[in-house]
Symmetry: C2
């Protein structure tokens, strides 16, 4: 893995923080380039040495280059880090493809599923720029906390162990513990479904359902996440790890989680369009919910919480109806339906 | 299971709420009796129809009997519900034993391990009153929220399926979903270890470590809980369920969790004796921590978070040193050490 030049594609809060930390912790000669879609945004960051739009508290290190030219950012980069919202990922990747070297490693930091195709980000990458090593960085990581140097842990997943190890060293900032994993699709599914579940947890909170209800949603939500994730080929163990349970807990409980905030507003009676109009950044769960439900239908697994969240988002249920529907399901054994018939191994995360 | 007479042994907040709900939701003739250790406390509850000491917002239903006589409470009871702190459980049970019928079912609601013997509550029950059917009720349930009728889910575990089913019906209050399980010791271990982990999560919060760190502690903490629990014969699936993950998440994140509050105070620099002096009720994690570490030594499993919590409690480390020690451990694969050699099945909760 060539780390002399690193391109960070996407200048939202997470992309900005990662680019700043990669530059600040660079141990060898080389460069880190941050790409922003808008030329005005890139120019403003170059000038102010801050991303005033998404991450104003982070000072950009002097050596960090900022550009709105994909050619400039990607040409010669040994590592290309994709951190754009899922609905724009393909478009940006197609535009970057002509400049991407054959040996470049592509790392996805995006937590979502492509609308329509229902592909994960690594699958989009493999389709658009085939033959490159692909990896995913995912875990309970709030951009704002990582920027402040608060302690955190995360997971780098790649099917190629050498790539995972190289990226583990690359992202091992002083206060960030990086664990390796080989389960790319499991980490991606977990990172996508947890946003949908956080909308549900937020709705319950907005309705005043209480901490017990939230804990139950997280627990049964992890079962949904693991059910879909294993059906898609993920490793059951991934879902009990940092990229699964860890990120799910963070997103469902933190005051700073975007998807939880949207759910909270919906549960308090606000309309979806008003909530979204008031947000600067993308809450991935809002687009992911329908994709997750479609994936579940294709895989024939039941995801009652995700289905209720999707129903609220498409206007076919109110948050109160959705929460009531979840509470009225039949009494059962906790492990009922486990393991699903499609699996021969003893099933873990319930 | 005879449910004509039900004894609730222990009038803390949880015992009081459960007794009130059992009486309020009684569908057949019979009685519910709440036992309080202190005669004055019992008399005050009888008179005021409230437990002014531990649960003042709950009105006791007119039919609920309150007594400080174990003979009166237990004689003829088909179900005896034990909800006294772990360190006093044996003493109370020994005193109740002469009055307990041969066919009585004993249900433990206590989340802790007996100091010294390192026995779980069901093991204490089996030792003191052998031959009785034993069950455990455990899950993410704050007494205050259950009292207010907020929605929640919980688990009843018993090795005897008919007992679990009967208790499932008994505790199925309008807003409480009860799942059955057969893994008594797994539920007990989960309910005990989570209190220790909540002390750790609270300490990190008190030190200002942030939401990412809390999510990492919960995730790696669940791995510890599952490691010890499976070594003790628990079912790996239990730890990903409501009594495992669900209760862990609740206890580590809720503003109302006693153990988290103690951790928070320690992390903010308060001394343990001052914190405990200011509490009316028992934070079980404070006594459980040393027992959990002793159990881990006996089972030869590593529990780094619990060990650091125990070190803070016994004065051999400060909260800051404990958190720093956890963060400085070696970088590794997320599944390193899994499955442990003692297990042949694919191990689930990481």
């Amino acid at each position: 893995v060539g780390t002399e030049k690193i391109a960070v594609i996407g200048a939202g809060s997470w992309g900005t923080v990662i680019a700043a930390l990669l530059e600040a912790n660079r141990t060898s000669a080389g460069e880190v380039v941050l790409w922003a879609r808008g030329p005005a945004h890139a120019a403003s960051m170059q000038r102010a040495r801050r991303n005033e739009r998404y991450s104003s508290e982070v000072e950009l290190p002097a050596g960090l280059a900022v550009t709105s030219s994909l050619e400039e950012a990607v040409t010669g980069a040994g590592v290309a880090i994709m951190v754009v919202p899922s609905r724009w990922a393909r478009e940006v990747l197609v535009a970057a493809a002509p400049f991407l070297g054959r040996d470049a490693v592509v790392v996805s930091l995006t937590k979502g599923i492509e609308p329509g195709t229902l592909l994960t980000m690594s699958q989009v990458i493999e389709e658009v720029v085939p033959g490159r090593a692909v990896a995913v960085l995912s875990g309970p990581n709030l951009a704002e906390e990582i920027a402040r140097g608060l302690p955190a842990a995360t997971v780098v997943a790649s099917a190629r162990p050498a790539v995972a190890s190289a990226l583990q060293r690359l992202f091992a900032f002083p206060r960030l513990r990086v664990y390796t994993n080989h389960d790319v699709v499991g980490c991606e599914l977990a990172g996508s479904v947890k946003n949908v579940l956080a909308l549900g947890a937020g709705m319950a909170d907005g309705l005043g359902a209480g901490d017990d209800a939230r804990a139950a949603i997280i627990t049964r939500g992890l079962a949904e996440l693991a059910r879909l994730g294993t059906a898609m080929g993920g490793n059951p163990l991934t879902f009990s790890g940092l990229a699964g349970l860890g990120d799910l807990v963070l997103t469902c409980t933190s005051e700073r989680s975007r998807n939880r905030k949207v759910g909270l507003a919906l549960g308090s009676g606000q309309l979806l369009r008003d909530v979204l109009a008031g947000m600067k950044e993308v809450a991935e769960g809002v687009t992911t919910a329908a994709s997750v439900v479609a994936l579940a239908e294709r895989q024939q697994v039941e995801l009652p919480i995700c289905q209720q969240v999707a129903a609220v988002l498409d206007g076919s249920a109110t948050p109160a109806e959705a929460v009531a529907a979840l509470l009225s399901r039949e009494l059962t054994h906790e492990l009922a339906g486990w393991p699903p018939r499609s699996l021969s191994l003893p099933m873990p995360p319930l």
